[in-house]
């Protein structure tokens, strides 16, 4: 393979990462700030350096894009679509069907500010929609959150790996800032993984046929299928939590942040450590499953204060509080509308928290 360009926007890096992971087909509809993904891929279809990438189509709508993707995913091919908030809402119907039909599929949401049309600035306000299964019928998806351009390039391979291992849609939730940010991109060549696709609908062989349907008219059948999905989601929650720790060992306050906020938090940890404040960062890489086991570890090792930094009115803070289960103080620092919190605001919030009385709730009391 030829080397990738070495200075790229996040969106471009994600497109290259998907190609490196063996992408076969991309379907998308233009929407700012995600359009560099289809624009990058449109120029790569049929190119010899990406021999697996055979299908690119600009769809007539977000609905058409996700359903074209469903069709291609049903053949066992690696399929991706990308969008931003308003388009992500439109795709939810298809994601629900893909979850029910157990199709491996990669959906990218470059989160912009909302609700409604909002603006083109960064937000993380689609966190709930992404992590709770944004469509109808009680499914879950895996949600990955990069925090750098190199990680935008790396995560598609992990996303496809998880999508095929568990036969489920995987969402990469990034934001307008990371999508547009340009960084150096040293990405090593990796050979695409191969997965079992014997379930795919590519023609019946004798008595063996493949029916990919979400319809289970008999109540007992739907009950069985829903339980099967729930068991799969429980296994994913047990085994696929991913996160990164920065200086959490002796921290009095642990910041919890993903995506662009993790970068702000990382910088804040550095400057506050330099001033003698014992501050750390927990960065969820999987927003779903949420790395609640890591929060639990931190609580058990004595952390009593979490400050959740996010670009919405407070969404991930609920997951941190659920994981802390009353054993630690959990506060949020939020910003919305496309703005980012200032380093001064982050510093002030950390200092206010660091000098507050240690929460009296002990782990044993909660466990009892």
């Amino acid at each position: 393979m030829t080397a990738l360009p070495e200075f790229l926007k996040g969106n471009e890096a994600l497109a290259y990462g998907a190609l490196r992971a063996g992408l076969t087909a991309f379907y998308g509809y233009p929407i700012t700030p995600s359009s560099e993904i289809p624009e990058t891929l449109a120029a790569k279809v049929g190119r010899p350096e990406f021999p697996r990438f055979r299908v690119f189509l600009q769809a007539a709508s977000e609905l058409e894009a996700i359903n074209l993707a469903i069709g291609t995913a049903a053949t066992g091919a690696r399929t991706m679509t990308a969008t931003s908030g308003p388009g992500f809402s439109l795709k939810q119907e298809g994601i629900s069907y893909a979850a029910a039909m157990e199709l491996p599929l990669l959906i990218v949401n470059v989160n912009r500010a909302g609700p409604g049309l909002g603006n083109l600035g960064p937000e993380q306000s689609d966190y709930f929609q992404a992590t709770r299964g944004g469509g109808h019928g009680g499914y879950r998806t895996i949600v990955l959150a990069p925090d750098s351009v190199p990680e935008m390039a790396r995560l598609p391979a992990l996303a496809f790996s998880l999508a095929f291992r568990y036969r489920t849609p995987v969402i990469v939730l990034t934001d307008a800032f990371l999508g547009q940010l340009k960084e150096d991109l040293p990405v090593p060549d990796v050979a695409p993984e191969e997965w079992d696709t014997s379930w795919a609908a590519t023609g019946a062989r004798g008595p063996v046929r493949h029916v990919l349907s979400s319809l289970h008219l008999e109540l007992a059948d739907q009950n069985r299928h829903s339980r099967h999905l729930a068991a799969k989601y429980a296994e994913i929650a047990r085994t696929e939590q991913r996160s990164e720790d920065v200086a959490t060992d002796d921290a009095d306050v642990v910041l919890v942040a993903f995506g662009i906020c993790a970068r702000l938090a990382r910088a804040a940890v550095g400057s506050m450590r330099a001033r003698g404040l014992r501050v750390g960062l927990l960065r969820p890489i999987t927003l779903a499953p949420f790395p609640r086991d890591r929060i639990d570890d931190l609580v058990l090792s004595g952390v009593r204060r979490f400050l959740v930094l996010e670009l919405n009115h407070g969404q991930m803070v609920d997951d941190v509080a659920l994981a802390a289960a009353g054993r630690a103080e959990v506060r949020g620092l939020t910003e919305v509308g496309g703005l980012l919190p200032t380093s001064a605001a982050i510093g002030a919030a950390v200092e206010a928290m660091a000098v507050s009385p240690t929460p009296l709730v002990a782990a044993e009391e909660v466990d009892a």
Binding site: G203, H210, L212, L215
Partner: protein, 265 residues
């Protein structure tokens, strides 16, 4: 819905039919179409490369009866799912059965854009002028004056629009290679209770031509004018007479486009 005799058992087994009893009502053309599809697939020896896309509506269980690989589509989205399969696997014979509500109302965007791009897929539209599965609501194809559960005084075209002619809409696009409309019900002959089954013969020929067009790289679309006596709230025989009297003039059967000349061969 009522239990019906399995077509495979009553009319002789075809390997492309599962033999499962269908949920289609007695007298419904969905059952006829299922049999015709199986026959046309076998005529092309295409069972092992056929992929059915099931839409939402009375066609939703087609994969229970057709013994081929199948993928289900959300309501109206079947043309997009078909195109996604075909683009990834051009070697497959990709087809779907859609109802009028599915294809012409909620899924019009997907139908029109797949047609305009000339996607090499075959779409079979069952136009029975009403929503069958949901219990008899007005469809885009409902004739003026027809009483449905949502037009209790008859369809008022002044406020709900005129019956939608999907075939002629697609004729306005350059993309489709094959457009045909078939009157599928048994047709009255003039003599009181004598009907002919010409529609089924036309229907099977149209399906075979549609598959031929797809495998030569073109978009094919066949609209089957059909009946729904249960939701029209008439007898089976009266539904056939109504279809001949009202629907056939509204949706004239015929060959609307045959770019590859497959019917001349």
């Amino acid at each position: 819905m009522s239990a019906a005799v399995g077509y495979a058992t009553k009319w002789g087994a075809l390997p492309t039919l599962t033999g499962a009893p269908t949920h289609y009502c007695a007298g419904c053309e969905h059952g006829t179409l299922t049999r015709l599809l199986a026959s046309a697939i076998e005529a092309r020896q295409a069972r092992e490369r056929a992929v059915l896309v099931s839409s939402v509506g009375c066609s939703v269980l087609a994969h229970e009866y057709l013994n081929v690989d199948a993928v289900q589509a959300p309501h109206g989205r079947a043309p997009a799912v078909m195109a996604g399969i075909k683009r990834a696997r051009p070697d497959l014979l990709v087809f779907g059965v859609q109802g009028d509500g599915d294809a012409v109302s909620i899924g019009l965007l997907e139908l029109v854009n797949a047609a305009n791009r000339g996607e090499p897929i075959s779409i079979f539209l069952v136009n029975n002028a009403i929503y069958g599965m949901t219990g008899g609501q007005m469809a885009p194809t409902t004739p003026a004056g027809m009483v449905t559960t949502t037009t209790p005084n008859g369809r008022d075209v002044a406020t709900t629009g005129r019956p939608f002619d999907a075939t002629r809409l697609l004729l306005g696009l350059d993309g489709p290679a094959y457009l045909r409309r078939v009157f599928l019900p048994v047709a009255p002959t003039g003599s009181a209770d004598v009907f002919n089954a010409r529609g089924a013969l036309d229907g099977e020929a149209a399906i075979r031509h549609a598959f031929e067009v797809q495998e030569r790289g073109g978009f094919s679309f066949v609209e089957f004018v059909s009946t729904c006596w249960v939701n029209w709230k008439v007898s089976i025989l009266e539904s056939k007479r109504y279809a001949a009297r009202v629907l056939a003039p509204l949706f004239p059967p015929g060959l609307y486009r045959d770019r590859f000349g497959v019917e001349a061969r």
